[in-house]
């Protein structure tokens, strides 16, 4: 039986070199980070651990009791380190798939297909970026902050949440050298007018020649409007229900505006990271 486990080259196939592996990953830990989210750390050496910021995996979620997830669940990479061979995902426990994933304990295994999709880009002339996210979208943006740091690009992270208990990824952003601005529903600071004022201030201060967002339609639309007005490079990481993750089933399509035309693209294959200017409201 031919298996593609932790191997860059499938054995016995005459030099076929896989670009995506269906890795049997071993659970190192799977702990709650707050009341809703868990962080799973997996031992997944080889191709999986080479994932870049913005790329994702399609994860097999165990069947537990009444929960019988049929498809895998796509999740953006929270961390991937080729040196340690570890891959991490931050996920909200919300449905049959994520409840199954939450049941995994240290030493258990599951299959992760990846790295998949097109990740974030940092053009050479972008020297300081703003990442703006909410909810699990912050997990997608955290590796981007580290990628920016490694290239000497300054990062400001605007972290939006319902209240102080829902704040995610702040330590990751700070560890990557990012300046963090927290905006909350509970004190009204997450209002669009305030977030817009912060973005305009950062741009006026010369701290925003790249805009990146994930996790909120309203925040995306705000950043898109300002990026167009201020002529700032921008990207958005999109979510959509998926089945295969490899561009084959065409279920994860969304509409994009490209040169004035509405075009359907596959989030898993053409993205999940897209030009901010092409995104449409979801």
């Amino acid at each position: 039986m031919r298996q593609i486990d932790n191997a860059d080259v499938t054995p016995g196939s005459g030099g076929f070199a896989a670009q995506v592996a269906d890795t049997v990953a071993r659970v190192v830990s799977n702990d709650w980070v707050n009341a809703e989210y868990k962080l799973i750390v997996l031992d997944a050496p080889g191709l999986a651990a080479s994932a870049e910021a913005g790329q994702f995996f399609n994860i097999e979620c165990p069947v537990v009791g009444e929960d019988k997830p049929f498809f895998r669940r796509p999740m953006s990479t929270y961390a991937a380190d080729p040196e340690t061979g570890r891959v991490e995902f931050l996920y909200k426990v919300a449905g049959a798939g994520t409840r199954g994933l939450a049941s995994l304990i240290s030493g258990g295994t599951t299959r992760i297909l990846g790295p998949l999709g097109v990740g974030f880009t940092l053009p050479d002339d972008v020297r300081s970026i703003v990442v703006l996210g909410r909810g699990v979208g912050l997990a997608t943006l955290a590796p981007l902050a580290e990628m920016a740091r490694d290239r000497g690009v300054a990062v400001t992270a605007i972290v939006s949440a319902r209240g102080p208990e829902q704040i995610l990824s702040v330590e990751r952003f700070r560890a990557a050298g990012a300046k963090v601005e927290i905006v909350l529903d509970s004190d009204g600071t997450s209002a669009m007018t305030n977030v817009e004022a912060i973005l305009r201030r950062l741009h006026a201060e010369g701290r925003a020649d790249g805009f990146y967002t994930c996790g909120s339609n309203r925040l995306m639309l705000l950043m898109q409007k300002l990026a167009a007005e201020l002529d700032v490079f921008g990207e958005v990481a999109m979510e959509q229900q998926m089945a295969c993750g490899l561009g084959m089933c065409f279920c994860c399509v969304r509409n994009f505006t490209v040169e004035g035309e509405t075009i359907s693209k596959r989030v898993c294959w053409d993205g999940p990271v897209f030009a901010l200017s092409e995104a449409t409201s979801w």
């Binding site: 039986m1 031919r2 298996q3 593609i4 499938t10 196939s13 005459g14 076929f16 896989a18 670009q19 995506v20 592996a21 269906d22 097999e60 019988k68 997830p69 049929f70 498809f71 895998r72 049959a96 299959r111 297909l113 959509q240 229900q241 089945a243 295969c244 490899l246 561009g247 084959m248 089933c249 065409f250 279920c251 399509v253 969304r254 359907s264 294959w269």
Partner: protein, 313 residues
Amino acid sequence: MVDLKVDMGRGLVLANPVMPASGTFAEGLAKVVDLNGLGALVTKTITAELRGGNPTPRVAEVGNGMLNSIGIPSKGIDQFLDEALPFYRRFSSPLIVSISAPTVDDFGRAAARLNVEGIAGIEANISCPNIEEDGKAFAMRPQTTEQAVSAMRKVTDLPLWAKLTPNTGDIASVARAAEAAGADGLVVANTILAMTIDIETMRPTLGNVMGGLSGPAVKPIALRMTYQCARAVDIPVIGCGGIASAEDAVEFLLAGARAVQVGTATFTRPGTMDEVIAGITEYCRRKGFNAVAELGAALNADMLAPDVMEAAQ
């Protein structure tokens, strides 16, 4: 050494009997699986006209299966010939191009455009709506099946497979009609028309209301239809429906299928086809078969006459 070759007729011999089901395979699988190891490659369905596909949500999970209403998005035959075909020509596995059309004449016109180097055969998706017959799928009835297959047979010498729909009351008669019209093989079968409703929102789960059911949930039905068709015709039958393991594939081969297609399983385990090929080989070795082609005559059953079998439904 088990001989995995299967003869599909009209000069088409596959290195092994395992191939993707149309709609579940595209260029992306080449990143994970060595496509040269597959018996054939079967494209997503291509239409002459541009098609955007159905509104989202396009898929839903059901118990042990998948409901989809993708809607055959297609960039047209020109784009396929210019952009996709060169990609597939990099691989040694024979390329079967799935086509569909809204009328009998359009099926003929589409088939005529595929007499091109690099295309090894045509799979006609006649499970789609016929706009001249009130939207009923061509393969729901023998007469419209015969008309569509005849229109293609007139214009191509390529191996021509008809993909039948399970949404018919008499699949054996449809199979015989396709054979009589000159089909070289039958793919049995497409998805089963189905629907689900979200009782909280009180809306159909799919954007298109109804869709096609596939995956392990449909396997016994597809297997029964494969058996009925294999007994009804002399041309090869390609079994398709819920195959997720070598054991599943062997069931279809024992039921009389010459080859099998793996579809939905590739979405959940992209390496499934490789595992099926290896597992069929192992099964033949364990059971003492020298060639996979021997499985077609190996079923132990007190055979019912086909007409009795159909009446039993």
